[in-house]
Symmetry: D2
Subunit: 357 residues, 4 copies
Amino acid sequence: MGKIKVGILGSTGSVGQRYVNMLRDHPWFEVAALSASEASVGKKYREAAKWVLDKEMPEGMAEMRIVRATPTEIKGAGAELVFSALPSEVAKRTEMDMAEAGLFVVADTSAHRMDPDVPLVIPEVNFGHLDAIEAQRKKLGGFIVTGPNCTTIGLAVSLKPVQAEFGLRRVLVSTMQALSGAGFFGVPSMAIIDNLIPYIKNEEEKVASELLKILGSFRGGHFENASMKVGASCHRVCVLDGHTEAVFLETEKAATPDEVARCMADFASEPQRLRLPSAPERPIIVRDEPDRPQPRLDRLSGAPERAKGMATVVGRIRRESALDNGIKYVLLSHNTIRGAAGNAILIAECLKAKGII
Amino acid sequence: MGKIKVGILGSTGSVGQRYVNMLRDHPWFEVAALSASEASVGKKYREAAKWVLDKEMPEGMAEMRIVRATPTEIKGAGAELVFSALPSEVAKRTEMDMAEAGLFVVADTSAHRMDPDVPLVIPEVNFGHLDAIEAQRKKLGGFIVTGPNCTTIGLAVSLKPVQAEFGLRRVLVSTMQALSGAGFFGVPSMAIIDNLIPYIKNEEEKVASELLKILGSFRGGHFENASMKVGASCHRVCVLDGHTEAVFLETEKAATPDEVARCMADFASEPQRLRLPSAPERPIIVRDEPDRPQPRLDRLSGAPERAKGMATVVGRIRRESALDNGIKYVLLSHNTIRGAAGNAILIAECLKAKGII
Amino acid sequence: MGKIKVGILGSTGSVGQRYVNMLRDHPWFEVAALSASEASVGKKYREAAKWVLDKEMPEGMAEMRIVRATPTEIKGAGAELVFSALPSEVAKRTEMDMAEAGLFVVADTSAHRMDPDVPLVIPEVNFGHLDAIEAQRKKLGGFIVTGPNCTTIGLAVSLKPVQAEFGLRRVLVSTMQALSGAGFFGVPSMAIIDNLIPYIKNEEEKVASELLKILGSFRGGHFENASMKVGASCHRVCVLDGHTEAVFLETEKAATPDEVARCMADFASEPQRLRLPSAPERPIIVRDEPDRPQPRLDRLSGAPERAKGMATVVGRIRRESALDNGIKYVLLSHNTIRGAAGNAILIAECLKAKGII
Amino acid sequence: MGKIKVGILGSTGSVGQRYVNMLRDHPWFEVAALSASEASVGKKYREAAKWVLDKEMPEGMAEMRIVRATPTEIKGAGAELVFSALPSEVAKRTEMDMAEAGLFVVADTSAHRMDPDVPLVIPEVNFGHLDAIEAQRKKLGGFIVTGPNCTTIGLAVSLKPVQAEFGLRRVLVSTMQALSGAGFFGVPSMAIIDNLIPYIKNEEEKVASELLKILGSFRGGHFENASMKVGASCHRVCVLDGHTEAVFLETEKAATPDEVARCMADFASEPQRLRLPSAPERPIIVRDEPDRPQPRLDRLSGAPERAKGMATVVGRIRRESALDNGIKYVLLSHNTIRGAAGNAILIAECLKAKGII
């Protein structure tokens, strides 16, 4: 039985390269189309992409010719599903064009995340939101599923089991985000060496609104936000990959740090039960050393091999006496693997496992 | 009229070097004694200290001979006041020895900070706590005054005017601290390049307990803690100098971001009114760019020249809807200038201005 | 007597900002015109420049309006001399237009460096080359003087006294260059953290050709290259400011390391004799510690205050047995101060001292 | 047939950890003994080592108890060969004790490298030098084989085919060395952020003397140095792993850059012919991009999986007109894999393949 043919929109950028890297030898998917901006069309991927990963470019894809990000060219190449890592200025229109042409779009762009009929999915957290696809498909032919911002993902994963067991009243998060989150050319070296930048445009708003949608429910054809309060302060630090987040929270029901640690460590969900190829054995790895997680040491956590970088690593779970039922901890999540390409691929694996594609 | 002769205990370490640097050509103080560990005694300062600042070692002190940190040697050199940057394992005993021998000790070590009769002082914040010296002096002959942990100082300065005008109910702070806070040899490069360390031993406890003492009162011969709740999460990032802190707070009385900005920008206190040599014109500099303060660009803020690095820089003051009467902002404070040597020198200037020395 | 009015072409870039910073309160020059690209024309400098230096923008210039880089606008603002930090694609034409309109151009761009009638000047090294201006001025009305590439400057300064006393047969240099040499946006952080880039476009060729012109002679109206052989290997490392260079050389006459150190330390030239405002007391500072110069510690070397960053710091002078009459050493030169704006300002000071302007 | 039991001396340090990591699942060797300093003896490896690699500690070794570095304890644990990563102050004596007790010692310490009867081996370069073991074994019972300094290895590998085909007259190298070369605690972050250190103690002397021994011959029971001239300038830069070296050389016979590239790319030697488990398919990988090799992108080059970090990557091969028959290039070699543990393991594989052990 053949693999499902997929396309990558925006394949030459840094998230695009992560897709190319993670889809090499994927057991279920085969890359049939790579798109990039007009200047690259017709070139070999090898020539069009300035490859920045430390693993060599997969040989098969290196020789593929770049196509335009139009439904005609994508479908002409045989793809039925596309992963979108498009720049935000073109994502909104192009992703909708693809869906209207009957393609299945899995996007880690922000364009359609908050659309009322588009699910915003982290498979371990809100697998059920994929049910929203049905209505879209009827309307459009194809559909769009989105994955959240790289900062939201690790946070949402770590909160899910706490929400389920103890309830959440308030979440305050202060982030120390990696440079790759801004794209390869996003942060000049002169701006960040011996420095940090305490600001990332629109990030704090995205974290709050996305988290509420993800931790909320999908019932009767509608998304309903979760009810906790969420506040964020977002900062860029001199780390290549891996977002670290200091989380303060107030639970509904009192919980000890040990209880929180246990419920996180025990957490598993549909992707684990379905043994999806990119699902980490454990969505949350709880470490008990006093000084972990650390981005360089822990960002590629997760097993099996294909799921390296897919687990959220949590440490320093402790009481926060300044809040009622207060708990604080530190989490780490790989921002271009779990936070982008990896989450989207895991969504696609869910679609296949559910028989949607 | 002659200058007051002072000694520096622990003069070869990185905070000791800051003292040496900041006391060059001080209008009121003259360095008469430099102490260091036994292996350095008798050597010239030039030979004993591996100088790590980018400004050249002051010529006068370069030729001074290192003495022992004993009252006899310090007093023999003519000093009446000592600044202590001693390692913690010897600070407790040595500082007390000095005070009992009639010397005036200004310490930025943690040894005596929480002693019930020792003031913990940031001159702009709790100048009045210096009144506690009187009782000590009667008992010991000399006295000990301490300055707080480098992480507490900027936070306390930024909170003081807010506390005064709106009241404080809750403070949550997440820090991104500089490497120099751990001393020159404290953090190996292999540990921090492309990384961060989400843990600093005892730091979170110090921030909470020190802040409550500083923002509390001294009345009837006793210190009384402030009543707000304080929680901290402390992290080390790859920045040479300058602690950045993301602060979330709940005020007693509702305040808009503009009102908070104004009360911070207008803040001035005794050191400003007394025009002390090391007092910054403004204790708090409020910036309105979206992406400031940044450690490399802002850590040496403050005027006049002698007060560079003495101001707390605050930016991104905004509402925090996840808290009642919630406000959040980012602050930056130079950890070895304002956070250590500079604060201690400013305390000594207060002592002189008050006629205590 | 009034100051000479000057303009800065390309004033908003990172070298442009160095000019703005170094010309604040200059005793001889007053900034009358700031130019930048079309999008900035008419804006205040404060709005047009994203200021990246850690010293505050000079207040006077912050309020100046950006003008076009045309002779009419520059002369309209009253400037008679312009410093050019123009992007290379427009420098060639614009600098010539200015000279033809009677303006005096001091450029640290590469456009006209190798022109047969344009002097390429480091005042301490080849002051005499300024005589070439005379012929240009007759032809054009104004004239162009250029300063060399930031990598060439420190090297040429360090070689000049050795050439004079011992002769030079062969120079091999391997550089470790700072990020600011590529401009503020030149090197993405993702490209250089935990990394180095062993390539800088055209740099090796520039070092060789410029060095031969500078160390050569100007006689009978013509420049003649020096006769030594020069080879370079250029690399970018993770340092903000300050180019470090490892130099291997073969002298004509045998010299001991001590003799080389002495001739470098004793070196002084016209700018020193004329006591020009931006001339360092000593063009070369020789350090004898085994591990210096280091960029962060030594890049701002030089006295007086105005000349900080103008001295070349040399260390580790030792024999190189793999070459005949072999000597090797390490040098450090601040690439945006001595290597760009500072050298140009020193050239302008020479022009004034010689009565040319 | 069982695996050969080996011990690791100095197993908790950063090179020791590389051995532990590289010997997990080795097809020929099994770790039977881990030694460390007295304070660690008896502890589990998990407790004794502060693990700093980003790959998890191998489970089997994590539970092993640390033993003393004495022949009795090592042999008691069943080991017949030991890899030595001992600190230099104890290496000389301990390694000799082991050899005298009949153990086979493969050391990447410097203690015995220049001993007249001890081979200094890079298997691809001077496999034949292993013949010197015979005489040692007769004398001592066991023997010592050493691997060179991390800076020498990549250089020697890259020079070997050039020496063989064109002859070498002169080699000048300027290095940009990684932090891990100084050990985990070797370089404080405060010393190297936004900085470089142009000095590594004894390194330049080691490169010259070791290179001549390695590229020399072993004939009639004696080592004879190669006859070229060698000079080095060594510098530490802010890179975690991977030494980069800028090489200038003079060949005996003229060679074009293409000829040099070809002879390097075609180079293969005994380890390749014997298909040793840790031998890279190609000892030298020649890259033709203008800006490679780069440490972060290329340090783990080499195939198969077990040989990642074992290849020397060479780029920018070009003519150097400042030298007769001049060639220059840039090389990269992983300093703790190929430059230490990996080279020693490859030596041990040679010993086994030759039937010596």
